[in-house]
Amino acid sequence: MRLHEYQAKDLFADAGIPTPDSTLARTVDEAVDAAAEIGYPVAIKAQVHVGGRGKAGGIKLVDDGEEAREAADEILGMDLKGFEVDRVLVEEAVDFVNELYVGVTMDRGEGKPVAMVSTRGGVNIEEVAEEDPDAIAREHIDPAFGMHDFQARKVVYEAGVDGDIARDVSSILSTLYDLWEERDGSDAEINPLMVTSDGEVIAADAVFNVDEDALFRQPDLAEMEEDAAGDELEAKANEYGFDYVRLSGNVGIIGNGAGLVMTTLDLVDYYGGEPANFLDIGGGAKAQRVANALDMVFSDENVDAVVFNIFGGITRGDEVANGINNALEQFDEIPKPVIVRLAGTNAKEGMEILNTDLVQVEATLEDAVQGAVEAAEEVTQ
């Protein structure tokens, strides 16, 4: 789960990391007032979960009230790569001479946290990592001890940070690591970490992604998620407790288990269709979850046909079949053709229960997917 910049900055500031003076605004008037309060020049920054906000026109630097009004009016309500901007951060513009990068993440290959520092901040760090891996200094951290002070110094010096400011950068990195550890971060980043003409070091941007599996022990961060949900259907999936990702095709996909659902998506593509979504109903799904899943996929207007693929381990075929029947019997007319394939635990019983007036039943994964792709094609013709 990703926090907004302003939320991450609040976390960082509370932990003692210097951040620019800033105020969140939801209307043009609020933004202009905030800018006057802070003092020009200020940056007006869209608060949305997309990368490359600046390039896309979501960040503007303004020098007076008129420009602030114009910029806030333009940014608030704009569509930024599919996300509508409903709030902006009005922030003191920092007069910088240098831009650094510091970050903490989990190195999954090593199973250990890793701290990273680079003097090439202010640009896409993933591109730097690809073009010039040596430009980023890395230090693995033993999770049993946490980051030693010397490790923070070591990685900062190895990155080639100037001696005068190295102490401040090390201290910020230590704080960032502790915050990452205490608040169950998956990624914590400051890019750019700006160095001003008078030698101050300040976090001009802030990224903090939280491990979703740890939200149970970070209740205040879990609450921030409400604000963060983008797509309406993805928000609905959240409410139902499904793993769901919306895609751009017209074949709806429901299944159990991430690997098998991904495989079903891949097969839709393989047989010439386009997947509309990833929807994993999880293990042991009962009738109500089945009905909720169908409701989700039916309410996606892009969907023309649905493939329902269940391989029961803990999930029972007869329960799924009853769920499908019950859900579909509520409609006078089935909204979109549903092709079902059941295998594994109680699959045989399930196949017998399914009402073939309402659904098309197929015996194999391949046949079910092809059936759905064909049905979707028929609808579009």
């Binding site: 999954r108 199973g111 022990r217 299944g255 690997g259 991904m262 097969l267 381990g313 594994g344």
Partner: protein
């Protein structure tokens, strides 16, 4: 022959009095697994299906000679339960629990490296040696004893491939679901080593998915060290970058690492036959044997 589990494996179930733990302990016993004990703090002295419950894993290991633990403990307490299993000690720990915080697993992983224990999982269906023992939640009835070793990051995808194999009379030596989390214990390479050394495993199926570099590393290992033929499958060819596809580990990062394409290429370069569909994987195995 088989790997990691067989008739002699003596299992303690951590969390045997909980809903999931109890149900699957029953299923394991029904399959013929030698479940010798349960371990639940505060429930020592009780019995579940005539199996004695102990307060601690070390107590169960000592009293009942348990040498493997299966963990059904909820995510908030699972990290601690895994440390307890490693401390007991047992030779094999199978962590079924889904949703363990990654930082907890990072600490467990560090401890694991100091031991000789195999940890399978977390967030996995477990493992099975057909006809002998199953440790976990796999549906026993789809498996058949035979000579195909199977290793997979995903549960239900494993069942799909096994179904395709069994249908053609291609039984399995051992099938292992290593789990879909970013940090897991036993990985592809550990498992491939075991299969390569097992005289009764004549061919191997490896099912990977997007995210991380485990499949690429496994490809390197296969190229350099394996004589046993391997067929592969990679799920997530159509996954868009930056979206987590269910499993915490299944994500293609913005910079393009962890893609299906990179994994398929690496495996094919190592001589692995990668199927476009699960059924095609079974075709390749049939050709190998």
């Amino acid at each position: 022959m088989s790997v990691l589990v067989d008739d002699d494996t003596r299992v303690v179930v951590q969390g045997i009095t909980g809903g999931e733990g109890k149900f699957h302990a029953g299923q394991m016993i029904e399959y013929g697994t030698n479940v010798v004990a349960g371990a639940v703090p505060g429930k020592g002295g009780q019995e579940v299906y005539d199996v004695p419950v102990y307060d601690t894993v070390s107590g169960a290991a000592r009293q009942e000679d348990a040498n493997a633990a299966v963990v059904f403990v909820p995510p908030a307490f699972a990290g601690d339960a895994l440390f307890e299993a490693l401390d007991a000690p047992v030779d094999l720990v199978v962590a079924i629990t889904e949703g363990i915080p990654t930082q907890d697993m990072s600490r467990v992983y560090r401890k694991l490296k100091e031991t000789d224990t195999y940890l399978v999982g977390p967030n996995c269906p477990g493992l099975i040696t057909p006809g002998e023992a199953k440790l976990g939640i796999l549906p026993g009835n789809i498996f058949e004893s035979g000579n195909v070793g199977l290793v997979s990051r995903s549960g239900t995808l494993t069942y799909q491939v096994v179904d395709n194999l069994t249908e053609r009379g291609l039984g399995q030596s051992t099938a292992i679901g290593i789990g879909g989390d970013p940090i897991i214990g036993t990985d592809f390479i550990d498992t491939l080593k075991l299969f390569e050394a097992d005289p009764d495993t004549h061919a191997v199926v490896m099912c990977g998915e997007i995210g991380g570099e485990d499949e690429e590393n496994a490809a390197k290992y296969i190229r350099q060290n394996m004589d046993t033929p391997v067929a592969g499958f990679i799920a997530g060819r159509t996954a868009p970058p930056g979206k987590r596809m269910g499993h915490a580990g299944a994500i293609v990062s913005g910079s393009g690492t962890g893609t299906a394409e990179s994994k398929i290429n690496a495996l094919e370069d190592a001589g692995v036959r990668v199927g476009d569909t699960p059924n095609e994987v079974a075709d390749y195995i049939e050709q190998f044997l």
